[in-house]
Symmetry: C2
Subunit: 346 residues, 2 copies
Amino acid sequence: MSNIESVTMAHLGIDAGGTSTRAVVVTEAGECIGLGRSGSGNPISSGPTVAAASVRAATAEALAAADLPGSAVGTTAIAMAGGSAEDRVEASGTGVRSALLPLGVARTPTIEKDLLALYCSGSFEPDGYAMVSGTGAAAVRVADGDVVAICDGLGWLLGDDGSGFWVGREVVRAVAAALDGRGPRTALTGLLLSGLSLPEPGTTWARDHDGALPGLVAHVYDLPPVALARFAPLAFEAARADGRDGSDEVAAEIVDRAGHLLARTLSAVVTPEVPGPVVLGGSVLAHQPAVRDVLSAHLLEVGHPGALVVVPDGLAGAAVIALRRAGVVVDASVFARITTSLARFR
Amino acid sequence: MSNIESVTMAHLGIDAGGTSTRAVVVTEAGECIGLGRSGSGNPISSGPTVAAASVRAATAEALAAADLPGSAVGTTAIAMAGGSAEDRVEASGTGVRSALLPLGVARTPTIEKDLLALYCSGSFEPDGYAMVSGTGAAAVRVADGDVVAICDGLGWLLGDDGSGFWVGREVVRAVAAALDGRGPRTALTGLLLSGLSLPEPGTTWARDHDGALPGLVAHVYDLPPVALARFAPLAFEAARADGRDGSDEVAAEIVDRAGHLLARTLSAVVTPEVPGPVVLGGSVLAHQPAVRDVLSAHLLEVGHPGALVVVPDGLAGAAVIALRRAGVVVDASVFARITTSLARFR
């Protein structure tokens, strides 16, 4: 690639998540010059049609913001979970990669692991770790800029230990057990029932099979199972010691167990030969210091010296990967320019 | 009811389960004179059309075996889970009750709680307890021949602590964790993978994301969640100390936790004022002495003097209830006649 090309060409980083999709146009100097956002870009959770439309919409918005035609884009990196599903869809020309052709983006995008993008959002170093706990949970080891080991990410039924789904499921089960007279009373009951606009149990709260329980049962079985992740914040709220009634024991135990399960998953990929940073993402790890504290304590225990870095998503990392795939060396100063210029859009 | 009617009339007990339906024709003396069997009779798990057809088929077979027309049937008691669903279906004339009209059964059947029928399969006493752990799990207290308290039975997502689903889910999660390098090695891995005809992991068994794990993931997410109950027997097999390799620690812990969870559920309905027998049913409690041992130990601890009685299903109990609803007093000798005559059909 000539110098002239490398200064004039822009690249595209796309973070296609299950809830939302983000696209950024980045120069070879690391300047983010246009951002776009849209809905779910994951072909597994939302279907290939929705995913393709989201990726196209976010990209069109980012190109418009950068005032560039699609033909000005060199390399495109699309970070997503479940890349093999995208491969099957793309085989019939309806994947997220084909979705960029109408925008004039000529070069075929690369599909990147979402956890590699998460890692690259937090570090430009070639070696380290990334862990996500959002709706799902997984950890990876990165060596020489690529994922070399992965643990969990097996979904709500087989794995996702310590994820938002895991915590949310524990919340609704703890409330059901309390209403049922099997489990201890917990502040989670009031929080969950009022959140669902269900009548709070009165004096007959225990063994409440004619009271709040039928409403809770009807509500929960009406949801797709992964939607239980939406109840995870109740555990963090009730577990906080600064609440009106102090920390709730049941909630505190759920949060503590989530932290230990995440530590176990991270441990499975951590090795003394790779002392790099640990990049954390997903709503549970981004917003819950109590869970991060358990992880930090665990890393100290096993003598891992890496710093914990929290990132909002894999967008900066997708830009980093796009530049690298284009042959650009992303060093400390390019990386700093990416994150700083991107922060201005948020 | 005149004496002449009461000696000539036959009654019908039906146990409409999620997997199979059984119907028995019983005389007022307690003699079971005809048995019929068919498929799922539960309108929730199999839909109202299948449930109605199953109940009709089992009843037709029982009447034919007894050589009686439907018009000879006095009272019919149908035991099933989720009677309120049946009420909604029956309102439009397509429930299991209407299904018996074409057979000439004129009197409207009563819908009875499945756990009351289970209890009455094991005891003719008016007061006591019943607990089931099959695919699901629940416990009830019976007083004056009726269910007065219930615990759990909240389904796989919210409850069913210690059920076959609960155990089966623990099995697949333990195997996933072992293959993933998060959890300890367990004999469950070989049992599960060979049972599913998946390749057993070799030397690379840990962190086996390119080996056995993808096959396990594909298989498990292809099943309806409750079908995980089919893997429960693997835990009981691996936990037995007389196996080739001795008791597997991971499996033994799963079985032990299941027992303790069931004990907790039973405790929620046990009260010193009701010292009656504890009737147990469902595949986990019927076939797994290790789980029953945990329950027995727990009942001893809390000073409950009632005997544990294991029954195969709620069929004898449905016959008991049908007789009672017809005004027949089911005492020790009638009860013994029901169970003895029924045993001859099995």
